[in-house]
Amino acid sequence: MTPSNQTTLTGLSAWFSALIAMSRKELTIMTRYPVEFVASFGQVFLIVIILTLAGLMFSRDGVRSPGSSNTAGVVVYGFILFMFLSDTLWTIGYNVRREQKQGTLEQLYLSPASKTASLISRVTVTLVWTGLLSIGSSILMSAMIGRLPFNNLPLGALILILALSGTFGVGFAFAALTLRVKEAGQTLANLIQFAFMVICAPFFPFAALPEGMQTISRLIPLSYGVDAFRSTLMGYPNGFPELAPIEIELVILTVFGVLMPVLGLWLYRREEDRARRKGSLSEY
């Protein structure tokens, strides 16, 4: 093969080119399953409405309750963050596993394309789709149960970006774990996801947790992401944020968002090197 008539991309342009090409591949796969598009939207809407209705059963006037916007805010914003975090936390590792199963992981590693771009491309399209789902479900929920509290959008977006950046890091670390433990990674992911649903309280206020559990919540940076995100969008109603003043939560989130991707990537590269040396990259 003669590379003479090919343009050789280097540096940042090569990185973006690889990211775009790989994201396009993921998008192509997604568009082959149109029913899944519609079904995932319906599913999200149903889950949110089920949890909101369940919450309203505890209010004085049930579904006719006029003061239910905070309940809806806690559920809807918590669920939105939960969806975004699920994308970044598990999808990267899940996709690495999928490449292993399909037998294409080794080929991918033989190509000179950036490994970071490869990892991020796994969730780029999903994140855009989740964003659209979030907007759609918020509009539908507002139409059904009245206006959601909606304040401080720029700060809310910043908190979302910081939390996502941090969870990208956790996602890289989880992908590293997947390379090590293989199939057991999926069971582990399920277990951690359920622990996250309880400890990081995306569907209910932290006040509902027993005191001991709240202490554990305070040790996990993601909890501050959940708390800061919904409190900010709800306009800091009485009692919110629950874990710490918003300024402190922002500092914790910034540290998490900046350091975690570096740490996660370092862990992934370390595990990748180990797998290559052992020849276990394509082991399935």
């Binding site: 029913v35 889950i47 369940a54 919450g55 059963m57 579904v63 069971t187 649903m197 209910f204 509902a208």
Partner: protein, 283 residues
């Protein structure tokens, strides 16, 4: 080898039980999966419980009673989440049945065997019902103990009657849905959506009277709605739809007599159509 043109009842039963045994043997290899099936309904019911406790505080029980007919929200929500497990299992195991055979590479063998597909699907249904009932009962008892509620209250025998009569039409609906999956193929997406759709309609965490009239009418056309309300009424006294338990039970019997036969007919028609168009092996 002798071909069996018209198998006897005994032979059919034997084939059905063999399928059930095969599936049960298979799942015993994955104890972690069974553990998760016990934990998931408890965690799932804990979400609205914690949300309600936090938002309503000391009024949680009183408000819940005013809206649902019982102050025992722990048992109410646990019944809902466990019924959801039963419904989800039915949909995944039945609607996903042929897809499962495709994935495991045994679909051709299924179509070459003289045993009827309905016999095999009955075996899968029995396995699914046994698995779902066992994990759900354990999850309910464990959940009640975790949240410090007595699991042995109310008319337990009547609750079982509602579950047992409700299971057959539920699996009938799942088979009907399986016919749709055969046609559309995208089983994961469809089953995922359907399980939440049925969860919503049967009032997983709320009574169906909370739904708008039109949606409520649709909900009442689903056997799981009657099954869940029957169990809740038997155990917690929230009130039967027709006030007397035997009237609600009779409705479930009507479903039982109609839905499975109708589903089998529809499934056969769709299956034949798909086979004629050579679409059965498409992955």
């Amino acid at each position: 080898m002798t071909a069996i043109a018209n198998p006897t009842f005994r032979q059919t039963l034997s084939a059905m039980l063999a399928e059930t045994r095969l599936r049960l043997l298979n799942i015993t290899r994955y104890p972690g999966q069974l553990m998760m099936e016990i934990i998931i309904p408890i965690v799932f019911a804990a979400m609205p419980m914690l949300l309600g406790r936090a938002t309503a505080g000391a009024d949680a029980e009183a408000n819940f009673r005013a809206n649902t007919g019982t102050a025992n929200y722990v048992a109410f929500l646990l019944i809902g989440s466990n019924a959801f497990t039963i419904v989800s299992n039915a949909f995944w195991h039945i609607a996903y049945w042929l897809r499962f055979e495709q994935e495991t590479g045994t679909l051709e063998a299924v179509y070459l065997t003289p045993t009827s597909r309905i016999t095999l699907v009955a075996g899968v249904s029995l396995y699914s019902a046994l698995r779902a009932l066992t994990t759900s009962i354990l999850a309910y008892i464990l959940g009640c103990l975790v949240f410090q509620v007595n699991p042995l209250q109310g008319d337990i025998l009547l609750a079982f009657l509602f579950i047992l009569v409700g299971l057959l039409p539920l699996y009938g609906v799942a088979l009907l849905f399986g016919a749709l999956v055969l046609k559309v193929k995208e089983s994961n997406a469809l089953v995922g959506l359907m399980q939440w759709g049925v969860g919503f309609l049967m009032g997983i965490f709320f009574p169906v009277v909370a739904l708008p009239p039109l949606v409520r009418a649709v909900a009442l056309a689903f056997p799981p709605t009657w099954m869940v309300n029957g169990v809740r009424s038997a155990l917690l006294g929230v009130g039967f739809f027709f006030e007397k338990w035997y009237l609600d039970w009779a409705v479930l019997w009507a479903f039982l007599l109609f839905i499975p036969l109708f589903s089998v007919q529809v499934f056969h028609r769709v299956e034949n159509g798909v086979r004629r168009n050579a679409g059965m092996g498409e992955f």
